[in-house]
Assembly symmetry: C2
């Protein structure tokens, strides 16, 4: 009798035991780019707490979170869109929706996930619950710079033609509105966190194009008309990610192209106001929350260094050497610490942002991008 009871209990309990109880506010995912896996990290514990396998080719990948932080949507270079459950640490849905893809976004209400594709070019929109395809918007080229815009909308740009689109998916049918032309070969775009300005970097000509998305009828406005690759085709190790731009009070700061400098731009006038000489070709410039500082990493071969720059003086205030091949940096949402991935040392290094003390390290396999769940609550990611 006892044994049957025990068996009964064992059968009955695993349902609960399989779904661990935990709060999700301090969790994160790290892309392990060589092994198609995601490391699950707990920021408060400063530790890895699990690993998710089966993500396909995530040698280049980004991800976004559902509003409740329960699910991550991973966008892989191979066109894979994978839904991951943060609590069970399992892949719960996956579709290979294109041949080659550059990234994605989730709508402000968490209902739709959009993916930006190179091959075939265009944007596909999926139900965030089921990953069922709800819209397929072909483009006459590779789509880049996909961002979510309030109101269940997305904006994107086309590399081949320079066209910019604002898609409204809040009604029964999608309404796709052309906003104008950004210029020659836009290579990336970013939306300010207040959803005010959609900024598009150009590769085929110099300059950056801005659209005011608070305007009922946004028009392209070109600025920084010296910005970009030079006429004599100096080698550019890495085109800067516009996600590499930082937005500090009253300023934009962006990587110079083919130069070891940060450019500072006044947000109102769109005029360049200063340059900061830095260690190498900047890749990501990320604003430290609740501070005047931005942190910068660099393209190879000078990519074992991170520098901290004061946005008020435009001076470097600190130079750190976290490890070999620093690919990404992610702050705790209130800024007390930063997690830095060192791909070739197979680790994450955690710094105190005020004292620069190393608070800890976490082993990871060829880590690249680090994404905390607090991103669920931010626009334009």
């Amino acid at each position: 009798m006892k044994r049957l009871g025990l068996i009964f209990a064992l059968i009955a309990t695993p349902l609960w035991a399989e779904t661990p109880c935990c709060a999700t506010g301090d969790l994160g995912l790290v892309v392990e780019r060589a092994s198609g896996s995601l490391l699950v990290i707990d920021r408060s514990d400063r530790a890895a707490v699990g690993r998710v396998e089966g993500l396909g080719d995530i040698s280049h990948a980004s991800l976004t979170y559902s509003p409740d932080e329960r699910y991550a949507y991973v966008f892989g270079r191979d066109g894979g869109l994978t839904k991951v459950d943060m609590l069970t640490r399992q892949v719960v849905a996956r579709t290979v929706q294109a041949g080659n893809s550059i990234g994605g976004a989730i709508s402000d209400d968490g209902r739709l996930v959009a993916v930006s594709n190179y091959e075939p070019g265009g944007v596909k929109v999926f139900d965030a619950d089921t990953l069922a395809l709800v819209a397929d918007v072909p483009a006459t080229g590779k789509t880049i710079g996909l961002v979510d815009v309030p109101g269940r909308r997305f904006a994107w740009t086309v590399w081949d033609t320079g066209e910019v689109f604002l898609g409204d998916f809040s009604g029964v049918e999608p309404v796709i509105r052309p906003l104008g032309n950004a210029g020659l070969n836009p290579f990336d775009a970013v939306l300010t966190e207040d959803a005010h300005t959609y900024l598009i970097g150009l590769f085929g000509e110099k300059g950056v194009t801005a659209f005011d998305l608070w305007d009922e009828n946004p028009k392209p406005r070109k600025f920084l008309q010296d910005y970009g690759k030079t006429a004599d085709d100096l080698p550019v190790y890495k085109m800067p990610h516009l996600q590499g731009w930082a937005f500090t009070e009253g300023q934009y700061v962006l990587p110079a192209v083919g130069a070891h400098e940060l450019l500072w731009v006044d947000r109102d006038s769109l005029q360049e106001t200063a340059r900061t000489p830095v260690h190498g070709q900047p890749v990501f410039i990320i604003a430290q929350p609740a501070s005047p500082f931005v942190w910068v990493n660099f393209a190879m071969p000078l990519n074992d260094v991170v520098q901290v720059v004061d946005s008020r003086t435009h001076q470097v205030v600190k130079t750190l050497t976290p490890g070999k091949a620093v690919l990404h940096m992610e702050f705790a949402p209130r800024g007390a610490e930063v997690w830095i991935s060192s791909r070739d040392d197979n680790k994450l290094v955690i710094y105190d942002t005020r004292s620069f003390a190393v608070l800890g390290e976490v082993a990871a396999q060829s880590p690249s991008g680090i994404f905390f769940t607090a991103r669920a609550h931010r626009t334009g990611l």
Copy 2:
């Protein structure tokens, strides 16, 4: 045998059943001011999912969250500090730490909770885990305007004397630094989300005092020197909460005192630039995330109305009537919807922020403050 097995299973399972599995990113708490209870809400479900009892006198209360969103710390007017588990919906710790208290804050790293007391005047600091007292900083009067400042620090001000303090609790011993004097009878203060400016409203004289907390040596800077109660003591129904100030791009917007107006102030010059005539005496002005709009509620008797104002034109764009005695408004962190409490209609009303459609209503008992867990990731709350 079967029955014993069933009994065994019933005994074995409740341990897991008691701790529900859920993600915490879309949860929230609503203060039920007449019943000492908190309603637990789920934003994605647009529903109440539980209630927490035993909070004492929370006729006036605020709360803050741990960085993982697991715990809420509730600061009650009666001096109660209560720690609530969002997953079990239980009170897990409680201390009545003063006779009369006005609010509190949690440090950026989530380690310390500070409470601002009237009686006796001063700030007490507690271990966020255990609620053990770690520091007791008496003041020569009532402390107001307590905010968290990056680096495990807190700032506060003293009503009776005008003194402003910055307390650093990151070392072995607290270091309390006087910053200067704000002016006569400061009644409330607020910190901008980038932790740049600590703004203090004065009651004993006209004006507002600002401290630049990015500065190594912050100095008081007085502005808006016409702002405040008038010489002829017009009745002021309710002193505006400085939490009622909103921070939009390049501007502060604050409630006029004793007038039915919003004041707009340029952040750089600290000069007033515009006024918006509104429905009543403004209480809370809250910026709609990812938009140019602010939403405003009003003091009694005109407190059944909410207005929406465009920060670019300074014009009212919408007037809504959610219900009787609108006490608070809280946005989904990315701005798609707003939840509004109607105390006297015993309900929360949920609006789509773009169409102004009512998306739902949730019954609540005399609701006042609404607090979503995404606040865990914001500075100065």
